[in-house]
Each structure stands twice: as structure tokens, then as C-alpha cells.
């Protein structure tokens, strides 16, 4: 939870503190202007901007939690009590998503609190932040960020089951999202909108220059459905020998 708060606080702070920086104050050096921040949805920009890093935290936590059932050997204890493996897997999924909800709530509280706290220093008029449009924007952003974090977390669980060890699960996930996707996007034209990590970040922001919200949701749904079915079959059939 500390990582969640730290990540959110960092991104939100930079958004406001680097407002006048020529190097930009948002992802990939882009500029989110004072005028944009003063709009109704300005209150939730920091929150949605943190979603990518929040998702990485979720991926790491859920990959670790899932894989450690194998490395600790606790999975065999669980299976002796609940031999219906898919039931067990679904239960773990629900539990982890409940945890994801809590992290998103905490992130929202930190982001919005910091936004109000730093708005004065950044000379931002927050009149629009308390309107019904702003509240509606916040609700939409909350839902989008939650979907994004759940998606990242599910990727983490998939990797945890595949590799049965936290280190390779986390390493591969982080390496793919932070390095491989960026290399592919930079070298292959228009490939960014087909990358799962970028799609999950697009969902959090409700759509961006990469692709539309619907395209991102559809793409992530396809990837996660295929991945989930594959690991569900693997989990159900694989010998538990550790």
C-alpha cells in the first residue's frame, strides 16, 4: 500500500510541480496545460496518470502472491482442502480484485488530496473541480483505473501461474511492459495500439492518442480471455509437485 501511495503521490506531484517546465509534466514528455487542469476533469488527471505505475505495482504484487503459493508449498495445503481447482483459482482472483479495489480507492484519495493541495502553488483555479461534471468525470476515471489495475493484476496472476516463481513472473512482466513494448512501438509503425500494456494504460485514461477506449478495452479483453483460459487449463491439469 505504501508503494501505491508513493507512486500516486509522485505522478500527481510532478503533474502540478512541472506545469511550467519546458520538458512537459505528463507521460512521454507531453504537456498538460494549466487550462486543461482547470477543467472539470482536471481533478482526476493525476489519478488517471498514475494508473500505469499503479498497474505495474498490481502486476508485481499479484504475480508474487500467486507464484509464492508454489514456492512456499502452500498450494498443496489449499488443494487438499479445496480440490476443485477452478473454484480455488476463482476465489483467489476475487480476493485479489478486492485488494485491487482498495488500492484504487487509496490512490484516488491520495491523488485528489494532492491535486487540491498543490493547485494553489500551481495557480490553478479549482472552481470546476467541485461541479457535478467533475464528480461524474471522477467516477468514470475511477472505473477506468480500476479496470486497468484489474487487467494488470490478472496479467500478474497469469504470469505467476505460468512460471510458478515470483522472480521470473515479475521480471518478464515488467520487462515486457517497460522495455519490449516501448521498443516495438518505437520501431514498428502503429504497433502501439496493439500492445497489451499500452492498451491497459489507455483504458485508465479513457482513451488517448494511441487508440480509442473501445479498441483498448476490446483488445485487453481478448488478450486476458486467451491468457486466462490457457492458465486455467494449465492450473487444473498440472501436477502440484512442490
Amino acid at each position: 500500500m505504501g508503494a501505491v501511495m508513493a507512486v500516486t503521490a509522485l505522478v500527481t506531484s510532478l503533474l502540478f510541480l512541472l506545469l511550467d517546465s519546458p520538458r512537459g509534466n505528463a507521460r512521454e514528455g507531453r504537456m498538460i496545460s494549466r487550462q486543461t487542469l482547470e477543467l472539470a476533469h482536471g481533478v482526476s488527471i493525476g489519478f488517471s496518470s498514475a494508473a500505469g505505475l499503479l498497474g505495474l505495482v498490481a502486476l508485481c504484487v499479484f504475480a508474487s502472491q500467486t507464484a509464492q503459493e508454489y514456492t512456499y508449498g502452500t498450494l498443496r495445503n489449499l488443494l487438499v482442502r479445496q480440490p476443485r481447482r477452478l473454484t480455488l483459482l476463482f476465489g483467489k482472483f476475487v480476493a485479489m480484485k478486492s485488494f485491487a479495489l482498495i488500492t484504487v480507492v487509496v490512490s484516488a484519495i491520495v491523488a485528489i488530496s494532492l491535486a487540491f493541495a498543490l493547485s494553489g502553488k500551481a495557480n490553478i483555479n479549482t472552481a470546476a473541480w467541485t461541479t457535478s461534471d467533475a464528480r461524474w468525470s471522477l467516477i468514470q476515471t475511477f472505473i477506468n483505473v480500476f479496470i486497468s489495475v484489474v487487467a494488470y493484476g490478472t496479467v500478474g496472476m497469469i504470469l505467476g501461474i505460468l512460471f510458478r516463481s515470483p522472480i521470473p513472473a515479475i521480471s518478464l512482466g515488467v520487462a515486457w511492459l517497460l522495455i519490449v513494448e516501448n521498443i516495438i512501438s518505437a520501431t514498428v509503425k502503429n504497433s502501439g495500439k496493439w500492445m497489451p500494456g499500452q492498451a491497459m494504460t489507455t483504458i485508465a485514461s479513457g482513451g488517448d492518442f494511441n487508440s480509442s477506449y473501445l479498441h483498448a478495452i476490446g483488445l485487453v479483453a481478448i488478450y486476458l480471455t486467451i491468457g486466462s483460459i490457457a492458465v486455467a487449463v494449465l492450473f487444473r491439469r498440472r501436477d502440484v509437485a512442490n
Partner: protein
């Protein structure tokens, strides 16, 4: 109504070219204590994993409490098990770990403290698992196995890491469970302990069952020995000659004559020795222990 707790027919498990368990056949009657012994790597844990539905057999069939092992959901609520050592969440206390498992299995949570008291962990119930010693972890594993108030208890090396007092406590616990009607299927390297508590035995070697039956039948199969010592050590060789003349081979081990002969021949040896002017200071017929039998049958003398 079945009278058999565990029944296994041609049960096998192969990993590629390696056969871990080969055509195992044995039965464990209800309400008995059955020891499951074999050298390291003989397939004991693999067999137990197959019986608990953790791994899929390559061939053969089995039943647990009358239910096919392909459907563990039908019998695991009546089985308690600790396989290959205890495994719990380090950041949770012993009691929290048990409550979690009780919730998952649908068992009563109010029995947790009682179980911890029963295994000697009552005063450490709220300590984190990561602070437990090996023996304490083992005790927690046994407590977890008792959560479902099981008809069948399967334990893999339950006394591992326990001190002699702890080993005795576990032995008494298993005896009391058996007296209450629980079937106990326990693997152990402490053959002296297995010998003390087991009504029956299954012995594995290189994945194959080399004995399955009553413990006393196994021991009776082995060659009994009469151990004799002479008051005058110079008479030992003469004593062996007397035994040989009577058709019983023997040798001198640690200053005593070990003669391969049935127990009821001991009085005859005493008479023959006396008639030859030999005074015996010790004469005792001995059945080989399970440990000696085990070494002889498995060829594992470590």
C-alpha cells in the same frame, strides 16, 4: 459400506523415462495404523500425492474411503494430510493459518485453539509462523491435518525435526487417534517408531511395493537369531561349532555369537553348551527389528 480406507491397484507414475511409482498394489484397512516406508526416492511421497489428487497417475486406479482417486472432491473433506513437510504463510500466525484453512475447507474455526493445544503449540498460537522452529512448524502441520476431524489421516514424515519428547508425543497422538477409529497412513524414516505403532506396513523400493501386509507377518518372515555369550570368551568358537553341528550357521559379532536359529531352539543350545562344559552368560532369541528387515529388503544400509 467399505472396510478399506485406501485401495491401490497397479498405480503408476512416470515422468518421461523415469518411473517414480510402478504398478503399486496395496490396501489399508479402516481403523488401522499403516506404516509407509522405503528409502529416499522410492516413491512414497509421489504415491501420497496421487492419493490426494495433487498429481495425476500415469496408470492404475485407487480408492480412498470408497471413492475413486480421480475425484478427490468426494473424499478429501474426510481426509487430513501433511505431505512433504509443513507449508504455511510466514506472515500469519499459527492460529491465523489454521483459521484460513478451516474457512477454505468449511471446518469449524472454534476448534483451532484446541488443536494447537493438542499438538503442544497452545502458547505460541499467535506467534507468526516465520518465528517457529522446525519442530513447531511440524506440529502446526499435524494440527492442520486434524482440522477436518478426519476418518483418514495421511502424514509424510510427521516426526521430522522433533526432539525425542516430541516424537513420543506424536506417537501417543497417533495411537489415540487410531483408538478413536481414525485410520492413520504414515510414512517415516524412524523405523523403530513405525514398528511400535503400525498394525500394517507397505514397503517401497525403487517405485515398487515389495511388501504390503501386517507388520508382524513381515518380521516373522525374517530369519530369527539366537544371541549367546559365553562366560569364558575362549569358548565362543566351540559354541559356534556346536550350533553348526546342529545345522545352524552363526558368526561372532561384537563379542556375542549370532546364530541363525528359531527362538524355540534356544533351550536346546543351552543344554548342548552345558553338556560341552560351556557356561552361557547370555542367551536371548531375537527377531530382527523392522530396521534390520528394511535394510535387508531394500538394500539401503545408510
Amino acid at each position: 459400506m467399505t472396510t478399506i480406507a485406501i485401495s491401490v491397484k497397479d498405480l503408476s507414475k512416470k515422468y518421461g523415462d523415469r518411473t517414480a511409482v510402478s504398478h503399486a498394489n496395496f490396501e489399508v484397512p479402516l481403523g488401522t495404523v499403516c506404516g509407509f516406508v522405503g528409502p529416499n526416492g522410492s516413491g512414497k511421497t509421489t504415491t501420497m500425492r496421487m492419493l490426494l489428487g495433487l498429481i495425476t497417475p500415469t496408470g492404475g486406479t485407487g480408492t480412498i474411503l470408497g471413492e475413486n482417486i480421480n475425484h478427490p472432491e468426494k473424499y478429501l473433506n474426510r481426509v487430513g494430510a501433511m505431505i512433504e513437510g509443513p507449508a504455511f504463510y510466514p506472515a500469519l500466525s499459527g492460529a491465523e493459518n489454521l483459521r484460513l484453512l478451516a474457512t477454505l475447507g468449511g471446518y469449524a474455526k472454534d476448534q483451532v485453539q484446541g488443536l494447537l493445544d493438542r499438538v503442544g503449540l497452545g502458547d505460541r498460537a499467535n506467534s507468526k509462523y516465520k518465528t517457529y522452529s522446525l519442530g513447531m512448524k511440524q506440529r502446526l502441520g499435524i494440527a492442520a491435518a486434524l482440522l477436518p476431524n478426519p476418518q483418514l489421516l495421511m502424514l509424510d514424515e510427521p516426526t521430522n525435526g522433533l526432539d525425542p519428547a516430541g516424537i513420543q508425543e506424536i506417537r501417543e497422538l497417533l495411537r489415540s487417534l487410531a483408538s478413536e477409529g481414525t485410520t492413520v497412513f504414515v510414512s517415516s524414516h524412524l523405523l523403530s517408531e513405525i514398528e511400535m505403532i503400525s498394525d500394517s506396513l507397505v514397503m517401497l523400493r525403487q517405485g515398487k511395493v515389495i511388501f504390503a501386509g501386517k507388520t508382524k507377518d513381515l518380521l516373522l518372515r525374517q530369519q530369527p537369531i539366537v544371541i549367546a555369550k559365553c562366560s569364558n570368551s575362549n569358548d565362543m568358537v566351540k559354541l559356534l561349532d556346536i550350533a553348526k553341528s546342529a545345522g545352524h550357521e552363526g558368526s561372532i559379532i561384537d563379542g556375542a555369537a549370532h546364530i541363525l536359529a528359531p527362538a524355540d531352539w534356544a533351550p536346546a543350545l543351552n543344554t548342548l553348551a552345558f553338556e560341552s562344559g560351556i557356561t552361557l552368560s547370555q542367551l536371548s532369541p531375537v527377531l530382527p527389528s523392522l530396521e534390520e528387515t528394511f535394510f535387508e529388503m531394500t538394500g539401503d544400509d545408510q
